[in-house]
Amino acid sequence: MQRELIDRIRALMDEGVATRVLGWKKGEFFYDTEPAILTAEQLDQLVYDSFCGPNLSKYLIQEMPKLEGKIIALIKPCDSYSFNQLCTEHRVDREKVYVIGVGCKGKIDVDKLRARGITGITAIDEDGDTLTVHTLYGDETVNRHEVLLNKCLTCKGKEHRVFDEQIGESEDTSAGADRFDMVKKLEAMTAQERFEFWRGELSKCIRCNACRNVCPACSCVKCVFDNPNTGVQNKAAADDFEENMFHIIRAFHVAGRCTDCGECSRVCPQGIPLHLLNRKFIADIDDLYGEYQAGEEIGQRHPVINYTQEDCEPSVVRERGNQA
C-alpha cells in the first residue's frame, strides 16, 4: 500500500495538485516513524505502515500561512475527525488541503511490546494477526490485536469523515469494545477510590506539556498556562493542586471539541490515561445534551457553546449520588 500511495502522490504532484505532502517518514528503526512534510524529491522517504500512529491534522495549522496552493495530507479514519474539527474552528482551510484518506487496520504500540518484556527490538514481521518480533535476545510472537495502540482499541470505525480520495482498506479494530467502559468503572467507584485513582495517575505528571502540544483541539496561540498574566502560569506542578488544575482545565477547555483521538494518552511519557478525562466530558455531553461526536462534519456547533432552555440544572451531578 505504501508503494501505491507514493505513486499516487507523485501523480498528483505531477498534475500540479500540490507540491508537498504531509505524511510520515522513516526513522532510525522500522517503528519510529516521524511526521514529515515532503516534497516530490523527498517522496521516497515516505512511509505508511503499522507504525504511523501520530495524528497529523494539527501540523496543518502551522502550514496554513505558508501555503501557496494546496498541500496533500494523509489522514487516517480517526484523524479525519480532528481534521474536520480544525476546519470548523477555522484553524485549517479545507480548500487548501487535498485529503487522501489512507486505510488503517490499527497501529502498533511498541511500548506495549516493551511492557511485555520484549526489548532490544530489531524487526517485526507481520502476517495477518500474528506478529513475529525479532530482538537482540531472540524472537517472540504476539497477537497483533494485543499490542495495538490504546486508541485503536476504541476505534471510531473505518469510515473517513472527510477525503478527496481514499487509498487502502480500513478495518474497525474496536472489536465491539465500549469506549466508556473505564469511565463507567470509575463512576461506579466511591469518591475516595476515584480520588486515589487520579492522584496515583496525575502525581506522575511531569508537566512536559506533550499532551497539550500534541492535542489538535489545543490550538490556542497562547495557552492560559503559558501566559504570565493569568496567575496560573506554571512550568512544573509545585503542588498536587497544580497537577489537578492543569488537567481539569485542559480537559474542560477542549470539552465539546475533543474528538477522542487519544493522542494525549499516546504521547504521555508517564502513561497517564488522560483520555479518560476527555471521555468523561464526552460521556456527560452524550448523556445530558444528546449524543455528539466532535469532528463528524465541518461546521458543527458543539454542545458546550450551545444551550436549550430545558437543560438540566447542575444539581444533577449531586443527585446522581455516589459522592462519599
Binding site: G27, D32, G120, I206, A210, G271
Partner: protein, 337 residues
C-alpha cells in the same frame, strides 16, 4: 565482592531504610520512577530505564529556595536551609551515574549551588550494571561501560543473586555485613553485556566534528529545519533527560507570603528566552537546535570534550514524534564510522 539473594533484598533494604531514606526504581501506576522505598513498594531493579532519570534525587523538579514576607514597604527574606539528610540511591545505571558527573560540572562549579551540593554530599550512590541493554541504548559512544558502573558501590544481578562491590568507604559501610562471593558470575555477565553493547544499532555513532572548533559549522548546518519540523515543542525530552539542567526561578504568592522556588525548565518552550521585547529564538527550529547544540557542542567546548549526553535512550523512547539526539548526530555527523 559480596552477594545477597534477591529474596533477601527487602530485608537488606529495611536495614538501610531504618537509618536513612532509600531511593530506588519503584513501580507505581504502571510506570517505573525513582521514589522513596518502603517495604510496601514494588521495587523494579530489572527495569532498564526509569521514566524520569535519577537526577531528581539531587536536582528535584521543584524546589523551594526562599520565602519572602512583605509588611508595608518593608521586606524580610528567609533562605531555605539546604541541609539535606543522608540517603542512599540504589539501582542507578551506568548512564545515569555518568550524568551526575555532568551535573556536578554545572552545579558544583564556582559559585556552587548549595542545594545540589548538600544532596550530593549526603548521598550514597549504589549503581547497577545493565544485563539487557536495548536498541535505544548508546552509552558506549561516550566511553561508558554499562557492565561496570561506578558510584559508591556497584551491583550486578545474575539470576537470583545480587552481587555487590564497594568502591568507596561509603559503599563499604553499606555492604560490609553481606556474605563474601567470588566474581566469576559477574565477570561472565559483564562479558555478555559488553558483547551485546558492541552490537547495538547505535554502538558506533560518528561523533567526529562535535566540538567547539566546529561550532559555527554545526550551528549553520542546513539540516536543522528538517530535523525539527515535527517537534511539538513539548518538554518531554528535557524532563526525562538525565543531564538537562536548565531551570526557571518563579515566585508563588501563597496569600501570606511569597515563595521563590525553582523548577525545571525546557529550552524547547517558546517562553524560555522570552523577554518584554521578544525572544531571540522565535521558532522551534532555533529552540530545537539549542538543545542539541548545547549537549553536543557547547557543553563539550567548555568541559574538555565531555558530552552532555550519556546515551541513556530516554529521548528515543519517549519523544511523542520520534525525534531524538541520534537522528541529530547522524544528520549532522555523517553515517556510522
Amino acid at each position: 565482592m559480596k552477594k545477597l539473594s534477591l529474596n533477601s533484598l527487602n530485608q537488606w533494604l529495611e536495614g538501610i531504610a531504618g537509618e536513612r531514606r532509600v531511593i530506588a526504581p519503584i513501580e507505581a501506576a504502571d510506570q517505573v520512577n525513582y521514589g522513596v522505598w518502603t517495604p510496601d513498594s514494588k521495587i523494579r531493579l530489572d527495569a532498564l530505564r526509569t521514566v524520569k532519570s535519577a537526577k531528581d534525587a539531587f536536582f528535584p523538579q521543584v524546589e523551594n529556595m526562599m520565602n519572602f514576607r512583605a509588611e508595608g514597604k518593608n521586606l524580610s527574606v528567609e533562605m531555605i536551609d539546604p541541609k539535606a539528610e543522608d540517603f542512599v540511591i540504589l539501582g542507578v545505571k551506568a548512564c545515569d551515574a555518568r550524568s551526575f558527573d555532568i551535573l556536578d560540572r554545572v552545579f558544583l562549579s564556582d559559585p556552587y549551588d548549595p542545594f545540589y551540593a548538600a544532596r550530593r554530599e549526603h548521598a550514597t550512590v549504589v549503581t547497577l550494571a545493565c544485563g539487557r541493554p536495548d536498541e535505544n541504548c548508546f552509552c558506549v559512544n561516550f566511553g561508558i561501560d554499562p557492565a561496570d558502573p561506578k558510584g559508591d558501590a556497584t551491583m550486578w544481578i545474575v539470576d537470583d543473586t545480587l552481587y555487590l562491590r564497594a568502591n568507596t568507604e561509603k559503599g563499604e559501610a553499606l555492604v560490609k555485613d553481606l556474605e563474601d562471593a567470588d566474581d566469576a558470575a559477574v565477570k561472565a555477565q559483564q562479558a555478555k553485556t559488553r558483547e551485546v553493547a558492541e552490537k547495538l544499532p547505535f554502538a558506533r555513532l560518528n561523533l567526529k566534528g562535535f566540538d567547539g572548533d566546529h561550532l559555527m559549522e554545526k550551528f549553520n548546518d542546513p539540516h536543522w529545519a528538517e530535523l525539527s519540523r515535527a517537534c511539538l515543542g513539548c518538554g518531554t525530552c528535557t524532563f526525562v533527560c538525565p543531564t538537562c539542567q536548565c531551570y526557571d526561578i518563579r515566585d508563588f504568592d501563597t496569600g501570606h507570603g511569597v515563595q521563590r522556588y525553582r523548577c525545571w525548565d525546557s529550552c524547547m518552550y517558546s517562553d524560555f528566552t522570552l523577554m518584554a521585547h521578544g525572544t531571540n529564538r522565535p521558532t522551534q527550529v532555533e529552540r530545537f537546535r539549542q538543545r542539541f547544540m548545547h549537549k553536543l557542542i557547547y557543553f563539550p567546548s567548555n568541559n574538555e570534550g565531555m558530552y552532555s549526553c550519556v546515551g541513556c535512550g530516554r529521548c528515543l523512547a519517549k519523544c511523542p514524534q520520534n525525534l531524538n539526539i541520534v537522528k541529530v548526530i547522524k544528520a549532522l555527523g555523517g553515517d556510522e564510522a
